[in-house]
């Protein structure tokens, strides 16, 4: 054995346990690192999963709230429609309490009246109803046949047939209302009778509708409105 072989053998003997230890330590370290990486990856996946689940839960919560609100809305619509139907005659009828409009303050009665008329003409009926109702309840001078007729038409447009009918009834009570002259009063009353027939028709009360049409023919045989019923325009 030469000197070189001896050294190599000794070195191999010396290095082998060292190398074995180094390899086992390195392997252990790598395995540990792998475990850590796996752990981090699983945490990351879990985090993403939780984020999605969290968002999905929020979605579900919002959807649940939405469903509840929708159910409440459907129920409220049904209950209110029934109540309004009883009070006004129509499911979608509106009352003075259901109009979110306040009349302008500091306006004189004639100005309010003009405002009401303007709203009536531009078919802003809710505002017209508030203005005219307030004016007629505050100032007796405005409780005329013409104004009651106009109020009736407004309530008819707002689907409050009960209130409309009441207003048309007021037109037909001459001592309670003022009119410029008898001719005008008769004209308003003829219109009111026709409107009452329309109200009855919408309430599906055919008998009542016929009654008011006959009443119109009896009381106002020569009125324009009568000519619409009796096309010849002659009294029956």
């Amino acid at each position: 054995m030469d000197y070189r072989s001896l050294i190599l053998k000794k070195m191999t003997l010396w290095i082998t346990p060292w190398l074995t230890t180094w390899v086992s330590v390195t392997m252990g370290f790598i395995q540990h690192a792998q475990v850590k990486v796996d752990h981090i990856r699983s945490l990351d996946e879990k985090y993403s999963q939780l984020m999605v689940e969290n968002a999905a839960l929020k979605d579900e919560f919002e959807a649940f709230k939405f469903e509840e609100e929708a159910k409440f809305g459907a129920l409220q619509t049904k209950v209110l429609a029934k109540r309004l139907s009883q009070e006004t005659g129509v499911r979608t009828g509106r009352t003075i309490a259901s109009v979110n409009y306040k009349i302008p303050t500091e306006l004189s009665s004639p100005q309010l009246y003009t405002l009401g008329l303007s709203y009536f003409l531009s078919q802003e009926d809710e505002k017209a109803a508030v203005v005219l109702t307030s004016l007629m309840s505050l100032d007796k001078a405005y409780r005329t046949a013409k104004n009651f007729l106009m109020a009736g038409v407004i309530w008819y447009r707002l689907d409050n047939l009960a209130q409309a009918d009441q207003s048309f009834d007021s037109v037909l009570k001459p001592p309670a209302v003022r009119a410029d002259d008898q001719g005008a009063l008769e004209r308003y009353q003829a219109e009111a009778r026709l409107w009452k027939a329309l109200v009855a028709k919408r309430l599906q009360s055919e008998d009542q509708s016929q009654y008011w049409l006959k009443d119109l023919l009896d009381h106002h045989p020569h009125a324009v409105e009568t000519s619409w019923i009796n096309s010849t325009g002659e009294s029956p």
Binding site: T16, L19, V23, T26, I30, Q31, Q34, V37, D38, I40, R41, E45, S48, Q49, M51, V52, A55, A56, D59, E62, A63, F66, E69, A70, F72, G73, A74, L80, A81, L84, R91, T92, R94, T95, A97, V99, N100, Y101, P104, E106, L107, P110, Q111, T114, L115, L117, Y119, L121, E124, E126, K127, V153, E191, A197, L198, S209, E225, W228, I229, S231
Partner: protein
């Protein structure tokens, strides 16, 4: 020997490292989207915006022009997003809002608003675009609107029209549809003992400003909306109020240079002139102002009456 040892070490290292998964980018990818139906795209966004797909199991990647599948759930907690629906309209989603995109072929709404506020632009040719919330439904043929659902503590829906017009209705009572024009707003709430939306009211500029800021409404649309709101505010009420606050105390609307039509010393000709002046003052620029102020019932009711009469006559004849 030495070489063998080195080779064995190298092989071991390669095997260990090769077997080791560094866990790079094995994130959950968005599901296969090829067969999905797209309903829109995300145009721009800012802040905290989240988009979940229709199955609510995957996030949609937030990037410009990211396609959004039908049924996507979009929430903007502390952020803002601009979306484009496939049907054509653009939508700006405000902070704290939550919506779901639905197909343009959907029979009811194309967008469901669960909470919050949304600004929608529908242009000519986009077709009728429908928005729905828990209580209300809005249909837009052409126009720019802001729709708010469930604001405040009470459940309600509010529609503000900035340009053109839109119809508004109760989802559960569609017999009455309300048309809301530009510069107007309407609200649907049950606390007013009614089941249809309120008649439109002029929208106040103060109400609009914070909404424009939150929804990033562009300046041009803002100025059009402000002008429309001003026009609505300046209607009859303002005119009347300005007369009430005029410097001349208790000045009659029908007076000219201190004279009143009620004054008995005024001649009939002067009265007629005062009356004319009053009419012009009350209804400026209105053709046939006399008829406007002193109306006979309009043609619509007459036509309605006539129709009824015809029906009655037919019934009687039968």
């Amino acid at each position: 020997m030495k070489i063998r040892i080195l080779w064995s070490l190298a092989t071991a290292l390669v095997l260990v490292l090769g077997g080791m998964d560094l866990g790079e980018a094995k994130e959950s990818k968005t599901p296969e989207v090829a067969e999905k139906q797209w309903c829109g795209s995300l145009e721009v966004f800012e802040g905290d915006v989240q988009i979940l797909d229709q199955t609510r199991t995957h996030f949609i990647e937030l990037k410009r022009r990211a396609p959004l599948p039908c049924g996507s759930w979009i929430s903007s907690n502390q952020g803002w997003a601009r979306l484009k629906h496939n049907a054509g309209p653009y939508m700006n989603l405000g902070a704290g809002s939550y919506i779901q995109l639905l197909s343009e072929r959907s029979k009811s709404e194309q967008v469901v608003i669960y909470r919050g506020q949304i600004y929608v632009e529908v242009n000519e040719g986009d077709g009728v675009f429908q928005l729905g919330s828990a209580l209300g439904r809005v249909k837009i043929q052409r126009g720019k609107v802001i729709y708010i659902s469930g604001y405040g503590e009470k459940a309600s829906s509010q529609l503000i029209v900035l340009e053109d017009s839109a119809t508004f209705e109760n989802r559960f009572e569609d017999s009455k549809k309300l048309r809301v024009n530009e510069g107007e707003m309407s609200e649907l709430a049950f606390d007013l003992f009614r089941i249809i939306p309120q008649d439109p009211l002029p929208v106040s500029v103060a109400t609009l400003k914070p909404k424009f800021f939150d929804l990033r409404v562009e300046g041009k649309v803002q100025s059009v909306a402000f002008n429309a709101a001003h026009r609505k505010q300046e209607k009859i009420v303002a005119e009347l109020n300005s007369d009430v606050h005029s410097k001349v105390p208790k000045r009659s609307l029908a007076s000219v240079k201190g004279k009143s039509a009620d004054d008995e010393s005024v001649s009939p000709a002067e009265k007629a002139r005062l009356h004319q002046h009053w009419v012009e003052q009350m209804a400026p620029g209105v053709q046939g102002a006399e008829g406007f102020l002193f109306p006979r019932f309009n043609v619509k009711e007459r036509a309605e009456k006539k129709k009824l009469m015809e029906e009655l006559l037919r019934v009687q004849a039968e």
